[in-house]
Symmetry: C2
Subunit: 378 residues, 2 copies
């Protein structure tokens, strides 16, 4: 019989939380970073290599998958896990965020949103019920409600309207998700822009509806980090302690430290792979731009103490060469190296919380980043 | 002490030969297919994954590496093997072929060739002595002489002039290579275009100079397959039986069957990776174009009996999706799948020669190709 979906809070240190999410497809250690597999692939990285970096769970994008190759097609082929050869947990977003950011000709009303596909121009409708149906067809382990996600800044009236619509959609999603197989879960999404009163009302109302996990959405949309953290500061404590909390679309390594310190359990972000493709490496010594000519003769690896082999064995000179020569292997290796660093950071935070040493880990990690990369001695 | 360079002929079946090349960095089973690592990487494939397909040896391109990142730089960084994390044998070409095909403003005379770099426009000189020096700096296990490589068709006078110049350069390369460390070797290159008399003269003269291996160059430059095979038919038997024979830049799976059947031992070609990037798969059932819409719902792998995992586990529907969505993983997987098929073909030929069954293997392989891919039953 499939494992029931659940969350165990294993330890806390200040607001930071160590936990474990159980799903039918295995457990997820939290705080967790979810690599983004937009089009049924983490860009440029074999699924086995994603797993080897320490990822317990991936994120898939409903918007992209519904347009190509199509949710019904993936279901006929045995579901998203089989399709992309990732037998471990998958969370899918609802498509709402990307309808807003990627498609044109949106018509949004109470029933849902109609938009023009960025791939073939076809008109496509997405309702709360259809968002759940698609995610069920994909076979996601964690399903997200459809919400309306605004760009910030926005007027209070706009934020309030979108928040209330998202709440009504949350109820419809919950109804549509009823009867789902055990071991899977639907999360509600707190909206309300940068208005704390709206955010608090959204959180309270979602808790009233009742979900096995809660996300904070509508952030990481261009606002300053302090705005994001202020929202997290207010919203996280308002969420139930015994349910996982997911900060959507975040972020930089520093964002992760800040948000875990405020009680967030789950993250997703394209930065490690997107920046990797552009020659930027995330390391214990901060960000390293491998396109820079100073690496051309540097025989040192990015971090000889990394638990990840590629980070230890390839020289900066080689990575620099690959990036300069536009070789795919440069994008591949730096995507893997960055995913591995993100997972190393999450693992470090998990150990620190268990040992009640999160503040010290946070300070030591920042000190290493700020000291920066050690240049090669000439 | 390093293993001396050498070649053992282990079995023959008709003109087809089974052998083994010994180098300081390990042995190469022949007939051998060498994946092409132009810019110190087999495009899109981890070196460990290249190895896992069964490759004993890679080819590196002197022309590209001398321009970027530079041979002296690679030497300072510990040589090409260390730079690209491939500790096994490497053969490098001399740069001559690509000077002709990629660079502009060539000035060719007795001393060598001067050309404009396609990367930064700098004027660069390449002489027989410099070609050897560069390959020594790279640390190649098998070094190729500098030759002049003509496009076909060409006049007999042009072919004769280029062939004789290549012979004089062969002598200069041999002198420049004297004193190289044991376990490494310099190969001469037979030229002469599609003129059998010139080819025979070139082979005889090179044998007079004396090399531990011989290549047939100046083919696979746009001529019909029958022209190439006619040259191989005449040249291969004129080469010493106890030395390896390398047909440069060849070819399709069928070219490999034809040429092994005529006594060739070594090949290199960009086709498996280049075609893979464009969505074409080489399989036991012939070539499969994964861009084609007929694969969109096909749950079958490319070949469930393949010794290569990716060929067995990813569905055609998934590969089709990745290629249509321009996802890097599509290029990566098909490059690996094609390299694995080439190595499977070479391994099959080696077993067949050992068992004196090459003709049967050849016929069975062609029959499978000609029968073609089996469409999905609706």
């Amino acid at each position: 019989m499939a494992q029931d979906f659940g969350f165990k809070l294993l330890a806390t240190d200040g607001a930071a939380r160590l936990g474990e999410i159980a799903t039918a497809r295995g457990s997820v250690r939290t705080p967790a970073f979810m690599p983004v597999g937009t089009q049924a692939t983490v860009k440029g990285v074999h699924p086995a290599a994603v797993r080897a970096t320490g990822a317990d769970i991936l994120l898939g994008n409903t918007y992209h998958l519904m347009l190509r190759p199509g949710a019904e097609r993936i279901a006929t082929l045995g579901g998203l896990h089989k399709f992309m050869n990732w037998p471990h947990p998958i969370l899918t977003d609802s498509g709402g965020f990307q309808v807003m950011s990627l498609s044109e000709l949106r018509k949004l009303d109470e029933s849902g949103v109609t938009f023009r596909s960025h791939i073939d121009g076809a008109m496509v409708a997405l309702s709360p019920e259809r968002a759940i149906e698609i995610q069920n067809l994909l076979g996601s382990d964690i399903v997200m409600q459809l919400d309306e996600c605004l760009k910030l800044p926005a007027t209070r009236a706009e934020m309030e309207r979108a928040m209330r619509l998202s709440l009504r959609w949350a109820e419809r999603c919950k109804r549509a998700f009823e009867g789902a197989a055990p071991g899977r879960a639907l999360f509600g999404i707190v909206q309300g822009g940068d208005d704390i009163a709206l955010r608090t009302e959204s959180a309270r109302s979602l808790i009233g509806i009742g979900f096995p996990g809660y996300a904070i959405g509508g952030l990481a949309v261009g606002e300053p980090q302090e705005v994001m953290l202020r929202v997290v500061d207010e919203v996280a404590p308002a969420l139930p302690a015994d349910k996982p909390r997911y900060l959507m679309g975040v972020g930089t390594p520093e964002d992760l430290l800040e948000a875990v310190g405020r009680g967030i359990d789950m993250f997703d972000c394209v930065l490690p792979t997107r920046n990797g493709r552009h020659g930027l490496a995330f390391t214990r010594h901060g960000t390293v731009n491998l396109r820079n000519a100073r690496h051309a003769d540097d025989p040192r690896p990015l971090d000889e103490a990394s638990p990840h082999e590629a980070t230890r064995i390839y020289s900066r000179a080689y990575l620099h060469h690959l990036i300069r020569a536009n070789e795919m292997l440069g994008s591949i290796l730096l995507s893997e190296i960055n995913l591995a660093y993100y997972q190393e950071l999450m693992a470090g935070m998990r150990v620190a919380i268990r040992e009640r040493g999160f503040a010290g880990f946070d300070a030591a990690t920042r000190e290493m980043w700020e000291r920066g990369d050690i240049p090669l001695r000439p």
